[in-house]
């Protein structure tokens, strides 16, 4: 094994008070903030660029570049909005991060806000995680009390407010412009881009929207240096990232490693696929990324290599499914999800997900035909790239990739007159009764 784990964000999670200010400061917390406030903001933006940090919310856009897009001296308020609406199926890294260490996020927010000259930041957290909301509220209160938020932070003359804003159940609000509309008090529907949020974001002002893990990575970069971060990972996918293993794996959980680690390496660390079974298919980065198979165990999990393998790194949400799992059932459930979560604003996504869901349901029941398989591929092609946002493209990922790798399994369903798999065999408790 060549790659080893590199706990940076997950370091300290095993201490019972890791979420408190005292616990965070014991491990060196808020030292980076003190250091950052003595550095000119533009130099911090440059450090962000030099580190090679790319957005950890799925798209992988260079964070430093996003910050640099914010016009300076424009006389308008600037905003930082943290996307904590973690909802992509399979993705489960930001929620444990905010539960175990909300302060690293807050420290990253203050540094990043100072860098882009924002005086008000927001954490848009999904509403379906009550205890995470509590932890954030409590940490923000502690940070204000300690003088890390509010006026004249650490005597620097920099002022900022931080508001925890709770969503109300809408996957689409993870899309950054839908999130902004939602934060403004509207239905969370994506905006047509351009203009991008850096020009006209929250309240039509320059806004940076970054994922939780992205912002939480900032204090480490400031404290240990851009080179330290850039020395981890691969040439174009630098740094550490949390890899979330779930499903049919012996020890599911969070594994923080340099980008470029492989699933083979991660599976070995996690005790392999559950005993007596073998890998059938997996998602590299959530349900919006095309599924891969056991052919792809050695693909380096970085943006470029996963892209070259026909998928996307996404959120490093590695959902592992063994040979007991029906791929058509999996795709049907994802189809129902995207149809449910389509915001309805634009036609290709609203209609496409609606019809795909029904055709896949027919196929799953064994009532489909080979023409239906062609039809879902054809509809997917018509949807691709034709929606306001990526949601319309997302459902195409599991559909196209499942037909590509498991076409025979679709056919088996209508030859068999139904699903040939026993769902009981896939459960956690299979064979234990």
């Amino acid at each position: 094994m060549t790659t080893t784990l590199t706990p940076v964000l997950t370091r300290g999670w095993d201490e019972a008070d890791s979420f408190t200010l005292a616990g965070y400061q014991r491990g060196g917390g808020y030292r980076a903030l003190r250091k950052a406030l003595a550095i000119p903001p533009d130099d911090l933006v440059q450090m962000g660029k030099d580190s090679g940090l790319r957005g950890r919310g799925g798209a992988g856009f260079p964070a430093g570049m996003k910050w640099a897009f914010i016009p300076q001296g424009d006389g308008k308020p600037h905003y930082l909005v943290v996307n904590a609406d973690e909802s992509e199926p399979g993705t489960c890294k930001d929620v444990p991060l905010m539960m175990a260490n909300p302060h690293v996020l807050i420290e990253g927010i203050v540094i990043s806000s100072y860098a882009i000259r924002a005086n008000h930041a927001f954490i848009y957290v999904r509403g379906e995680v009550l205890h995470v909301v509590r932890r954030l509220q409590e940490a923000v209160r502690e940070a204000y009390e300690a003088g890390f938020l509010g006026t004249n932070i650490l005597g620097s003359g920099f002022d900022m407010e931080l508001t925890v804003h709770t969503g109300a159940g809408a996957y689409i609000c993870g899309e950054e412009t839908a999130l902004l509309d939602s934060l403004e008090g509207y239905r969370g529907q994506p905006r047509l881009k351009p203009p991008f949020p850096a020009v006209a974001g929250l309240y039509a002002c320059p806004t940076v929207v970054n994922n939780v893990e992205t912002i939480a990575s900032v204090p480490g970069i400031i404290e240990r240096g851009a080179d330290w971060f850039a020395d981890m990972g691969t040439e174009k996918s630098k740094g550490h990232g949390i890899f979330s293993l779930s499903g049919h794996v012996t020890r599911p959980g969070q594994y923080e490693a340099p980008l470029g680690i492989t699933l083979r390496e991660l599976l070995e660390m996690a005790g392999g696929v559950r005993a007596g079974h073998r890998l059938k298919f997996w998602t590299p980065g959530g349900s919006s990324t095309p599924i891969l198979t056991d052919e792809h165990l050695d693909v380096p999990l970085d943006y470029e290599s996963v892209g070259a393998a026909g998928s996307m790194l996404g959120t490093r949400a590695l959902q592992i499914f063994d040979e007991t799992t029906c791929v058509v059932r999996a795709v049907l459930r994802w189809s129902e999800f995207y149809a449910h979560e389509s915001c309805g604003k634009c036609t290709p996504c609203r209609e496409g997900t609606f019809w795909l869901k029904q055709i896949v349901a027919r196929l799953e029941k064994g009532e489909g035909t080979e023409e239906d398989i062609e039809r879902i591929v054809e509809i997917s092609k018509n949807m691709f790239g034709r929606s306001f946002c990526a949601l319309g493209d997302s459902l195409i990922s599991p559909i196209g990739s499942s037909v590509k790798y498991f076409r025979d399994e679709y056919i088996q369903h209508f030859e068999h007159g139904g699903c040939p798999f026993d769902p009981a065999a896939s459960t956690v408790w299979a064979g234990q009764e």
């Binding site: 590199t6 940076v8 997950t10 370091r11 999670w13 095993d14 201490e15 019972a16 979420f19 060196g28 030292r31 973690e86 199926p89 993705t91 489960c92 444990p96 539960m99 175990a100 379906e128 995680v129 009550l130 205890h131 909301v133 509590r134 932890r135 509220q137 925890v164 709770t166 109300a168 159940g169 809408a170 403004e184 008090g185 509207y186 969370g188 309240y203 404290e223 240096g225 080179d227 330290w228 020395d231 981890m232 550490h240 979330s244 779930s246 499903g247 020890r251 599911p252 959980g253 969070q254 594994y255 923080e256 660390m269 499914f321 059932r329 459930r333 979560e341 769902p423 956690v428 408790w429």
Partner: protein
């Protein structure tokens, strides 16, 4: 089924106006307060009532139709009263495959109501929920949006029985006990209940990589001296 307008006592309404103004003051523009205000309405009525819609509209100077348009977009806002304990069973692909579908069937059969319905005693409502960001703990059940990890059909039925019996129930990762739907909604509206320090910092699954790294002596490089 449409609900009668609940109407609020003048004192209760005054308190809510103070709360709403506090929420509005958190934002550069008051309309941003709408989502938290709808949670606030649910903290009083247990759902988004007509009175609540009119209240939000009045406070923000927008029309009830505009408020309704927003409220109906988000699944957490309910148009009918939630149970005291709102139970969500994750049926997105991963949880479903790991046993969530079976859990859903057994819970639904056990309490005798379906998706988005409440029991007659008003204690339990159940919902088929989408991915709740806890896939390494699959199958996952939520009660008033607190985590119940690594569930089974038996454990889930027992959980629902305990809730109906009024027993104190502790989530796997959350406060020491599950609070009621209305109390939860008030926290989501941005009024802390002081329980953020309760419960574990992380579940065992969240620590798996860290523990392995410690065991093997794996670390990230140190980098520059602070």
């Amino acid at each position: 089924m449409t609900q009668e307008s609940t109407g609020w006592e003048p004192e209760a309404r005054e308190a809510l106006e103070r709360d709403a103004k506090e929420i509005m003051a958190r934002y550069p523009k008051p309309r941003s307060a709408l989502l938290p205000m709808l949670h606030l309405v649910q903290s009083v009525d247990g759902y988004v009532s007509d009175t609540g819609i009119e209240f939000c509209a009045e406070m923000l100077g927008i029309t009830p139709a505009e408020v309704t348009g927003v409220a109906t977009f988000y699944t957490q806002y309910r148009r009918e009263p939630a149970g005291e304990y709102h139970v969500g069973v994750c049926i997105n692909t991963l949880c479903a495959v790991m046993g969530g579908d079976e859990i859903w069937r057994s819970v639904s059969d056990h309490v005798g109501v379906g998706h988005d319905q409440a029991t007659e005693d008003g204690m339990i409502s159940i919902e088929r929920i989408e991915c709740n960001a806890a896939c390494d703990f699959a199958p996952v059940v939520m009660v008033n949006w607190e985590f119940f990890d690594n569930m089974t059909p038996e454990k889930s039925k027992g959980l629902v029985d305990d809730l109906r019996a009024g027993k104190e129930v502790a989530p796997t990762r959350g406060a020491t006990s599950v609070c009621g739907f209305k109390q939860m909604s008030r926290v989501l509206a941005g009024f802390p209940d002081g329980r953020g320090r309760e419960g574990v910092q992380a579940g065992p699954e969240s620590l798996r990589g860290l523990e392995l790294a410690k065991e093997k002596g794996w670390k990230a490089a140190e980098g520059e001296a602070p």
